[in-house]
Every structure is written in C-alpha cells, then in structure tokens.
Amino acid sequence: MATMATNSIEEAFINAFRPLGLNGTRELIPTREAAEASLQNLKLPGRKTESWKYTSLRPILKREYRPISAAAISSIDAYRIPDLVSDVLVFVNGEYSKELSDISHNQDVLEISALSSLSAENKEAFQQKMGTAIGENSDIFSALNTAYAKEGTLLLVPAGKTSVAPIHLIHLTVPEATATISQSRNLFVVEKNASAQLISSHFTVGEGESLSNTVTEMLVSDNARLEVIQFQLESDQASRIDRIDIQQQRDSYCSVYTFTMSGDIVRNNIRLNLEGQHTESHLIGAYLLSDSQHVDNYTEVHHKEPNCFSNELYKGIIGDQATGVFSGKIHVYEDAQKTNAYQTNRNIVLSNSANIYTKPQLEIYADDVKCSHGATTGRLDEEAMFYLRARGIKEGDARIMLIYAFCMEVAENISIEPIKEYVSQLIQNRY
C-alpha cells in the first residue's frame, strides 16, 4: 500500500508538468520525445539517493500543482539593478514580456532572444546546440525540462564579439491560490574569442506556493569569456530546482556567481566540464538563510584536460531553523596533469537549530596536480563582536557588520560596480 501511495505521488508530480509543453512549441526542442520517453526509467530522488542525501523533496512533491497561468506586471523598476545599464529580458510566469523588455544595447554585436521569438536562423542554432552540455537524459528534472519546457532564453555571442552592456534576465513569478509549476530553458553560446556578461534575477510577486525547474546550458568556446551572476530572491514559498551545465573549451574563462537570499527549498546543480586546456573557472556563491529555508548547492567540476584552473568559494550564513547544504565534487581525469583545483566552503551558524551539511569530494586520477578543499562551520567571532561593541556599536549593528564582512568576500572580484553595490545592499537589507 505504502509503495503504491508513493508511486501515485510521483506520477501526479510528473503529470503536472505535461501541460507546460503544449501550446504549439513542441517542434522547438528536437529531443523532446526522447526526453519524455526517458521519464519512464528515471526516478525522483529519494532519501537513499546519495546526491540528495540532505535535501528531502517530499514537501515539494506532495503538493498538487497546476501549470502557472499568464500574469501581467505593470513595471519592473523594483526588480532592476540600480545604476546598471543593461539589456533586460523580462519573463512573467515563464512567459516572455516584450513590452517590459529592452534589448537594444547589444543588438549590433550579439543575439539575445526569448525562445518564443527566435528568428529562423537562431532557431536552427538553438536546435543544433541544445543538449550539448547536458548530454543524455540522466536526471529526472532536466528530462522534465527538456520534455515540457516551452520558453527560455538564447544568448549567442558570435566569434570575436564582446557584449557592450551586461544582459539582465528578470524572472518574475506571480503565485496563485494553488501551487504552481513553471519551467525555463536557456542556452548561452559564446563563440571563439567572444565575451559576455549575463545576470539573472528571480523574484516572487505575491503569496502562494510555487516551483520552478530551470535548465541552463553554457557553451564557452576557445578563448571566450562568460560571466554569469544569479540572484535568487524569491519568497519563502518559492522552491527552485536549477541546473547549469557548462562546457569550456581551451583558453576560455567562465564564472558563475549564485546569491541565494531566500526561498523555500532551493537546489542549485552546477556541472562544469573542462574540455580544453588552459581554462579558468570560478564557481562562487553566497546563501543567507533564515526561518526554515533550505538551500542546497551541488557542484561538480570535471577536469578532463591538463593545465586548467578552477576555483570554488561558497559562503553561508544560516539562521533560525534554516538548512544549508554544500556538495563539491572535483574530478580530475587521468590525463588532466597540472590541474589546479581549489574549493572552499565556509559557514556561520547564527542559532542552535540551524543546520549545515558540507561535503567536499575529491577524485583525482592524475599524479601532478594541485588540489585543495576546505570547509569550516562556526559562529560569529565573539572576540570581534566584543571589540565592535566596546567601541559603542550596538549588538545588532555589530552582527550585521561581521556578517557583511564575511559575505562580501565572495563579491570581491565582481567587475561590474553597480552589481557589487547591489550585492552589498542585498546583504545589508537581509538583516
């Protein structure tokens, strides 16, 4: 009986995604049918799934979902980054809003488009490249995304071109009375010697339970450069399963920043594949959690070629009954000599009921490499607290100063000044 009940919950969950992919975009994703077929064999992660050991999806799975419907937003002023000159693409409940978007800055140098508005040429490029980084359907959420996604973003930076302004993707979710589900599918292609900066922000507008399932593929060609900064600023009822797969070719640079300031259950999967020599990569993140928020950052770095450098830095502040999870796997393949791979996860817990699980994992099959990992979890430095208070600074202010100092390390190397300032404001406004 118990097994049947579980099966029916899983079935209902998967079925809830089906209507998302209808509406006439079936032909956009050529691998749709294969993905749909693979759902027969893929299982939702459970308590015994090693890579999901510390994140239970039960609260999410047992809800009855409906696909989210269209909603209107009159202004995006509150969601833009102050003083940032950028292209803006706005998606409301997963649908592209042409009226709220402005993609004029980069129109002469690169292609940026919602999947629903692709030109014939871009459509072909999208169909050709999508799925490259993800590979075969090995996890159920990306298979669901491939099978039933209908909207998302294509960024295509042609060889030798550089974005003249960052591109800002703003995703707004307007929840409904019943739990809703939405998906987004993105492909960022940076060709040889090209360069781009992209920011994505996720907000919830209003109350209600929601779940987003997003897949993003990033293809960074020879000597190309891609910088991505994500802001997850959703409500305490908004859950998110996010997957990013990156392929880097020789001499390329890629950085992905992930700032999670809130959310219900958030799982960020990042898989970095280093396919060429002399690449540089940075996976950076900060999560500032309170109440019963649960954020799980799961990263894999695959060093397949020699002479590559990768660096991971994730820092967390966990308060109340919140839970932070970090898993970092570094896999150095047999041929990947002279690999430099670093990984750091630092956490501060603010309460006795906060939880942190951190799991570094190094698999090294080459013998001439430099790899290090370190994880720490502790409380705010009492001695520093006393020092600040002895100078007249109130306890609450002193705590914010120390939290701020701890977190801002992750923003140190962000080159776009208004974004650094935005991060600074987000941290200060958090407490």
Partner: protein, 250 residues
Amino acid sequence: MLNINNIHASIEEQQILKGLNLQINPGEVHAIMGPNGSGKSTLASVLAGREEYEVSEGEILFEGKDLLDLDPDERAGEGIFLAFQYPVEIPGVSMTNFMRTSVNSVREYRGQEALSASAFLKLMKEKKKIVDLDTTLTKRSVNEGFSGGEKKRNEIFQMAMLEPKLCILDETDSGLDIDALKIVSNAVNQLRNEHNSFLVITHYQRLLNYIVPDFVHVLFDGRIVKSGGKELALELEEKGYDWIREGATV
C-alpha cells in the same frame, strides 16, 4: 567618576578578583601594576563588560550609574574606553567604516547628531596625526596585517576619536619598542585633561616614565594590596614583586 566597591569576579568558576576597591576622580591617572595572574586584565575586562566574566559580589559605579547593568556598547556610550591588550583583526570591515559606525553610535547614545561625511573625515585626519598613524592603515580592514605597534597606535587613535571620560590601557606597552612607546605615551599625554581619567594597567614600570601616574596600585591575588604615588612604581621595578607577595601572605 569611577567607584569600584568590593568587586568579586570569576571566569569559568575560577575566582580572579576577590574584593577589589578603587576610586578614580576626574583628571587622575591611576596605574595598576602586579605580577602575571594577579587579575589586572580581568579588571579591564570587567570594566569593559566582557560577558565571560561573572561578577558575584560588589558594585561598580560610573558617574553614579551602575556599570554592571550596562551592555559593552552602552558603557562605551557612557565614556568608557578599553585599549585592548590584543586588538582583534576583523577582515572585511574597513577601518573607515568601523570608525564612522563607532563614532556615530557613541554620538547617538549621547544624544548628538551623526557626523557628516566631511566632518568625519576631517576628524579622522586630525586624530591620526596624534598617533602618527599611516594613512594607508585606515584604508585597510580593522587591524588586519597591522604590526604589533600599529595595532596599539590604532587603539590610541580610536581613543582620540571617541573622546572617552575613562580610558583603560590594558598592557598597551607590551610588545612595543621604545619609539612606539614614546609615540603612544605622547598621544596619551596630549589627550589628558582635567575632565578625563586614565587607568593604566602594566606589568612594567617603563611605561610610567612616559605616562606619569598620580597613583600607583599593586594588585595581588585579586585585591589591591598597596597604593602609593608614582615612586611606588620605581620601588617595584627595583625590588620586583616578591616583597609584595611576602607581605601579602604574612
């Protein structure tokens, strides 16, 4: 200004202060000397409000207010300043931001308006001169990568910024070479006036050549066992602490 009456304090169940009495009036400089473990730093910690110390008996009045009722930040607002023996490094918190928050927090406590950015910078510039603090240091994180001498000078700089009524110098001379000692002492002497008082805690007499005290107290086993004028410090330097120890046990 400060009245310490029969204070008993312990840390982790270990009794350190065992009935200490001390009275400090405005304009006075008191030196507390004593061997290691006698309770000198505990006294400084109890005055500044370190939470690890438990006061089981006695009272401390500061300008008539019960000091033990106040949080460390409130004590700073009232005008108590502790120059730390081991100033902590706080990576990521810039000296300027720290000092601005500190000055304006204290001003808010005292019912004064926050300083404007330009007034604050002017004040910084003025006070930095007193301790000859390198301008590059205030651009760094609090105490991060400062040498021992720079840390101590930074303490006195903060003291100058906050204009406290009672300054507690907790072994400010430890780890200072003679030049740094002169700079620090000179700064303290500039800050001395008839309204503020100093409690100089030191193991050695050397500092008191430069900061000349009105009173010298010898702390031993949690109590003040001998008080006198500045000549007492010289006597201690000459004879060491053994004669105090013998006297105390008799």
